[in-house]
Symmetry: C2
Subunit: 225 residues, 2 copies
Amino acid sequence: MEPIKNIPRLCRILGYEFTDLTLLDQALTHRSAASKHNERLEFLGDSILSIVISDALYHQFPKAKEGDLSRMRATLVCGKMLAEIALEFKLGDYLKLGPGELKSGGFRRESILADAVEAIIGAVYLDRGIEPCRQLVLNWYQSRLKSIKPVDQKDPKTLLQEHLQGFKKPLPVYTVVKTVGEAHNQTFTVECMVKGLNEPIVGVASSRRKAEQIAAAQVLELIKK
Amino acid sequence: MEPIKNIPRLCRILGYEFTDLTLLDQALTHRSAASKHNERLEFLGDSILSIVISDALYHQFPKAKEGDLSRMRATLVCGKMLAEIALEFKLGDYLKLGPGELKSGGFRRESILADAVEAIIGAVYLDRGIEPCRQLVLNWYQSRLKSIKPVDQKDPKTLLQEHLQGFKKPLPVYTVVKTVGEAHNQTFTVECMVKGLNEPIVGVASSRRKAEQIAAAQVLELIKK
């Protein structure tokens, strides 16, 4: 395997000196390149990112409701945001990819870049523990945390409604078509019908509201294309 | 509002003494009971639980693949498992619910119980920080972590197939009914049909496999009742 390029430069960009550089090496290794790849580190990094961002949002927005906090968190930890961070780090230049991925431009693929950022977070966590890792992630997210607002974030039902209103179309119709189970442990099946769709899309969940959100999210996916 | 019942006993059961008991009080307060309720704490607790369990699984299974780790984590942090823990704590006896929820048996509802466990985790985290919180959660999960195995975990499609085979029913049929978007950015609509259902359940996602899993998960929810 080729040696990793200019690792000291990458560490300067990341703002972190690894005690154990093999962790960084592994975090940069896609599964197409070697058997010791970054997926397990990504698994760890995903959870660490979540608690660091959750804690930051919790304290930054002492009056925000849970729904707003969750939506802001989802925005900050989504693949698109992580890929953006990866591009700032020029992470694509440092990734180890297998021949197939190299040929098809894997170093530019959003999901590969996002996964590598999570893997680096996991590597830092293993290298020096939660607090140094938290400080680093907060540095990376400084401007993003500064600019995020609760009102920017909306749930699928709201987004669907606004999307339809934007095109002057009628509002979606939600119908509970089935309820199964005992009173305290029910499952709701909800249909969401939107003009222009051939048939309603179904959402199933443990509450009517959740089932409606699931259905709305899927309708959005469909009609936004 | 009624005073919380026998809080010292609850602390003994949880295995934790709060420095700030108002945090525990808030964690036990459902949004139906007061404006200062447990949803923000639940938001925090959810992420803390995730990193504690992720870290434990990462070290307990040094050779497990990311997929197996993710499935084990999903099992350990799911609502059903959290509700089980809540029942062990007899948490329903300590919850503060509004009149409507009290009347409809909210203290037995799985989602309310699960959310309260996450809120308590969030409260402990705020009370004394990540390490004491981690130790407590690991105590609660000791036997569950001991018994979990990578092979126990299965995806919705596998679970659905096995469920149907167990009842000697025909296998589910998956059909791609729609594909929208350009080649590298498609959305797939898949129908999953199972004998005994009146109509197929639809899954929509960015890959055929994910759409099938979404549909299978919803069919499972429906037929398991």
